[in-house]
Amino acid sequence: MEFEAVIGLEIHAQLRTESKLFCGCSTRFGSEPNTQVCPVCLGMPGVLPVLNRRAVEYALKMALATGCRVNTNSRFARKNYFYPDLPKGYQISQYELPLAEKGEVLIEVEGRRKRVGITRIHLEEDAGKLVHGEGADSRYSFVDLNRAGVPLIEIVTEPDIRSPDEAVATLKALRDILLYLEICDCNMEEGSLRCDANVSVRPTGETTFGTKTEVKNMNSFRFLRNALEYEIKRQIEVIEEGGKVVQETRLWDPSRGVTVSMRGKEEAHDYRYFPEPDLLPVPVEEGWLEEIKGGLPELPAEKAERFVREYGLPPYDAGVLTASKHLALFFEECVRLYPKPKVVSNWIMSEVLKELNRENKDIKDSSLTPDLLASLLKLIDEGVISGKIGKTVFEEVYRTGKDPRKVVEEKGLVQIADRDALKGIVEEVLKTHPAQVEQYRKGKEGLIGFFVGQVMKKTQGRANPKVVNELLREALS
């Protein structure tokens, strides 16, 4: 029997506010434990939460960017459970009447476009961080409440996703939007972007849903893909063996490559939500919403379309270049200085991204500027250096941020296009390879490439290939 997977994602994104959602403590990452806490986020008796306006603004940006309907009077609710990282014994979240509902995000997998619905986006506070003891401390956990109260948005998608590839594409699309809006760092290792998935399978063609499991602990795109692939296969096997999928939460264990049941925790899911009595409904006036809407930047999908239209780039290039706002900006600035979009795109997608990916860096954190890349490309066009040497020069420019012209001078990489200078070398090459010369003259013309290669070797790649070709043909005829 053929099966299809049905997947919905729950994504938590930490908002990049300066202070926490309900108090003035800093949200900075990596500080000494329990130094960014106060009576409010420690859950001391008698304190009252006061809502951070910017957190609401950021959540609204995401809501508008994903075409959600905004509730102009959303409510906060208490989600009750006991856990040491939750000082109050409840998390302030939203349940009925979330901030925003019914949006969508566009994804593209293997050239096919698809809309993934967004069920809701709501605001909530983050919990603290638990560090589990090791060795002599293995009977203890250690609690740091610096993160407790940091604003999060939870984005819940519709069960519209049908494969791990689509799930990864959905998370990437949402991450790109969050980054464009500059409302979340989206650092999955540090946990500022987290993703859980609801997964079920059903025979292809079936319209009702199978029993789902919730998969957690996938803190990278690779883990998301691997965990979903595993979980889908596991569920299909259970059904094929005549068993039933149990509704439960499962943790992805990356070291073993499996999902593991967290049985026995079902009762903990009785959260007994009720309206938060300490907070009033969240008013969103029409004017504020309009102001936010007007300030939204061009989003990745729109930008990619424009790149295809305006610069005549293939959709693939446009997708790669617009995945990062800064990369897109870099491209456009480069094209302004050196108006050959496809050439610029090729260089960015090969050389520039190769270096950036190797260092796991964003273009804005590198010493490469549009100006430097544009001057390098001009040097190639002017024939000062060959395209091949250009790559060597690029590596140096990328590493040092030096002017390409200087690098070329310092390293003596200027292309030799002077006929007289090359003539001697060409003659020398032919003299040292008499056998090949004879074969060539007998009709084996493909050997021209061999001779060019020899000249290049002798000139460390600096010879102008066109001139070398001409000289060789003259000498051999």
Binding site: S19, N34, T35, F82, H132, S141, F142, D270, L280
Partner: protein, 97 residues
């Protein structure tokens, strides 16, 4: 409307309360009375009246996104029964909430 002993035990577990059999008995009666009272409230005709979680229509006060000083670490940990290297120290927890 009755509340079973099983329901009392469930609610007690969620609240992390340990009850004696006598208390379970007592609370099942008391909780039943509270629920009965809610049933009585349901008799009111509330057609056309929205959920009134907050009876007074005051605008929600917002706070500007400004960092205020936090309290010192020693102060934050002062009430903790156990602590170590700036952390609250608790019995090991595995799993999730």
């Amino acid at each position: 409307m009755g509340i079973t002993r099983e329901e009392v035990r469930h609610v007690a577990f969620l609240a992390r309360l340990e009850l004696t059999p006598e208390e379970e008995e007592l609370y099942s009666e008391q909780l039943a009375r509270i629920i009965d009272y809610m049933e009585k409230l349901k008799e009111l005709d509330t057609t056309g009246i929205g959920p009134t979680t907050h009876p007074i229509p005051t605008p929600n006060p917002y706070r500007e996104d400004k960092v205020q000083p936090s309290i010192p670490q020693e102060e934050a940990l002062r009430n903790a029964p156990d602590k170590e290297r700036g952390f609250f120290k608790v019995p090991r927890i595995i799993g999730e909430g």
